[in-house]
């Protein structure tokens, strides 16, 4: 029995996006309702899929019913079900925030938003590496539109760099895929894994080159140093709900690295075995350090948050880079926390910036916000969660990551950089909060005589603040349901780290035999 729900997260945004285009010249309320309905429906579907995947096997959906290695196949395992669910929840909240005014800046915001979801969901679901390229391109083309949404010179300049870098990245991706196809003769990821294990030693150099070429592309998507310099500008200058949604885009890169290098280039993969074991950890640690330096050195909350995205990618990939089951489970626990909290910080920064007309989110003293208690509490919650202080989810996830990697070779480096980066984050966010909320001249200070009354600022309605508050409430929920989430993460890591499950789900039983033989009959 085929589970048709699996293609729901793809077909629904595609269909609703098209419907929204047809309504381009209708009142904006109609586009908002269509967009929000689509996000809500996708969220319901992904929650159902998540619960199915908790106890169930890896599910596949064979498009067009072509026999598996030849046709395109969608694969839903626990990790991809969780990623779909995170994306759907984040998208619904970001869209609810955008519907308070950001979406008026351009006609096609809602359509682009739906196609963006199509691309992201496709990248999580696909089991075919060329199809992954196609979904990447759908995701990127909509993201180009969303980054530029609203216009302005800064966005255009940041957008140019983002677009051109990703065009080069797409070309390189095709070269990598081309080499894999030329040598192994297949594009199905499970089939690639089987044939990689059988590949003769004379092809080792070509296959390893293809793997590292693909890694360069995924590192560009995930924003690993030295391919991360597009991110602070692109995320810092674009509109807030778009930046918040893009918190999941770098995680697409992380997901694909985890998927491809635990499946095609897994430890059982013959000539390609353990390809990234020497590369990923140092690259991720340097990224983490660079992100921390950016966080400490920025003079603007939006840019600080953009560097926090880089830090979170560095942390995730450093832990994943140990390629151990427990560490990957810890990374899976950290991933939803960091995605939701950085997204929340983008929204809080926007709420703050809109009440400081001449300073925005910059660290300029004496520019009071209109609602200091409300925004201060939101900022404090987000900062505590991101900084990794108890009792919120950042603390639990970081403790789990640090304890699971403590026996690996890179443990001192991971501990040092994660904790040092956390300290710098706390200092930077503490300074931001005190400059924005506390560093004010007294209103009746007649002696200095340079104090002028501040212009009245717009007051946020509850509906403006609600989406950011919902994102922040997720953090204590991640702690309260921490036991369940950890159990799920270990089960998901089981499926990720051992490619046999994935291959047998896609290709059928006994097809993973070459992997087991190549690793000496484990």
């Amino acid at each position: 029995m085929i589970n048709h729900l699996i293609v729901g997260p793809l077909l629904l945004p595609l269909f609703m996006g098209t419907m929204i285009i047809l309504n381009t010249n209708q009142p904006i309320a109609r586009r908002r309702i269509l967009g929000l309905f689509s996000c809500l429906a996708v969220l319901v579907i992904t929650i159902i899929l998540l619960f199915q995947s908790v106890d169930g096997p890896i599910q596949t959906y064979v498009l067009g019913d072509w026999p598996t290695p030849f046709g395109i196949v969608m694969v839903l395992d626990r990790l991809s079900a969780m990623m779909l669910c995170i994306t759907a929840l984040l998208a619904l909240i970001c869209l609810a925030y955008a519907a308070r005014g950001t979406d008026r800046q351009g006609k096609n915001f809602h359509a682009l938003f739906q196609f963006q979801l199509l691309g992201i969901n496709g990248a999580f679901l696909t089991g075919d590496i060329f199809n992954l390229f196609v979904f990447f391109e759908i995701m990127l083309l909509s993201s180009y539109g969303l980054v530029l949404h609203g216009g302005g010179g800064l966005r255009t300049r940041a957008g140019m760099h983002y677009v051109m870098l990703n065009l080069v990245g797409s070309s390189i991706f095709l070269v990598g895929v081309g080499i894999l196809y030329a040598v192994l003769g297949t594009l199905n990821m499970a089939d690639l894994a089987v044939r990689m294990a059988q590949a003769p030693a004379e092809n080792a150099a070509l296959l390893q080159a293809a793997g590292l070429i693909l890694f360069a592309v995924f590192a560009l998507k995930a924003a690993l140093l030295p391919l991360c310099f597009w991110l602070p500008d692109a995320y810092g200058f674009t509109s807030a709900p778009v930046a918040a949604l893009f918190a999941i885009m770098t995680k697409v890169g992380v997901y694909v690295i985890l998927r491809v290098y635990c499946l095609i280039f897994s430890n059982f993969a013959g000539v390609g075995a353990g390809l990234l074991n020497t590369w990923l950890l140092p690259a991720a640690l340097i990224t983490l350090a660079a992100g921390a330096a950016g966080v400490a050195g920025s003079r603007d909350l939006r840019r600080i948050t953009a560097y926090l995205v880089i830090m979170s990618v560095g942390t995730l990939l450093a832990v994943i880079g140990t390629f151990q089951r427990e560490a990957i489970a810890a990374a899976i626990v950290y991933l939803p926390h960091t995605t939701f909290m950085t997204a929340a910080m983008f929204l809080v920064a926007d709420l703050i910036g809109r009440q400081r007309p001449d300073a925005g989110t910059g660290l300029v003293p004496d520019r009071p916000v209109g609602q200091p208690t409300l925004l201060g509490l939101l900022f404090l919650t987000a900062a505590v969660a991101i900084g990794g202080l108890p009792p919120l989810s950042g603390f639990v996830a970081k403790v789990m990551m640090l304890t699971t990697v403590k026996d690996s070779a890179g443990a001192p480096w991971i501990w040092g950089l994660v904790l040092g980066g956390g300290l710098l984050t706390l200092i930077a966010l503490g300074r931001t909060g005190s400059v924005i909320f506390w560093k004010l001249l007294p209103a009746d200070d007649t002696e200095t005589a340079r104090k002028t009354a501040h212009a009245p600022v717009p007051v946020h309605a509850p509906a403006d603040v609600f989406p950011a508050a919902v994102l922040l409430v997720i953090s204590p929920l991640l702690v309260i349901f921490g036991g369940m989430i950890t159990e799920f993460a270990f089960a998901a890591a089981d499926h990720v780290i051992n490619p046999v499950h994935y291959i047998e789900a896609v290709l059928g039983p006994d097809r993973s035999l070459p992997l087991l033989l190549s690793s000496g009959g484990e």
Binding site: F130, V134, E137, L141, Y144, L148, G151, G152, G153, T156, R157, G159, M160, H161, V163, M164, L167, V168, S170, S171, L174, V175, V177, G178, I179, Y181, A182, L187
Partner: protein
């Protein structure tokens, strides 16, 4: 023939990389186009170089042309074409908004 084709591919990629590293948007777009062409050629070659092979499987022939690279290259061409069109429009908009065609938005040096 392998030498000739791979040399072509290398020269195209080298020219593309050189142009992409220029500071003005027009050469950069030309470079991206050239790299796109080179990659399409490369994808085409993943089916290996053959001559006089049938493109349809028949009982009498043991060898036939690989049909998959043709499908892949068609997809890549369509996507690449759309992307280049987008980046051309974006560059025109950047020229209008930033008043310069420098990729970093730098203004010309003032005449001394």
């Amino acid at each position: 023939m392998e030498w000739l084709v791979s040399a072509c591919f290398g020269v195209m990629i080298a020219c593309g990389v050189y142009l992409v590293l220029r500071a003005r948007t027009f050469p950069v777009i030309l470079g991206l186009t050239l790299m796109g062409y080179a990659v399409n050629l490369f994808l085409f070659l993943t089916g290996r170089l053959h001559t006089n092979l049938p493109d349809i499987i028949s009982g009498s022939q043991t060898q036939y042309a690989d049909p998959l690279p043709q499908a892949l290259v068609l997809t890549a061409i369509v996507i690449g074409f759309a992307m280049i069109a987008f980046v051309v429009v974006l560059s025109l908009r950047a020229l209008g908004e930033l008043d310069t065609d420098h990729v970093d938005g730098h203004k010309e040096n003032p005449p001394s």
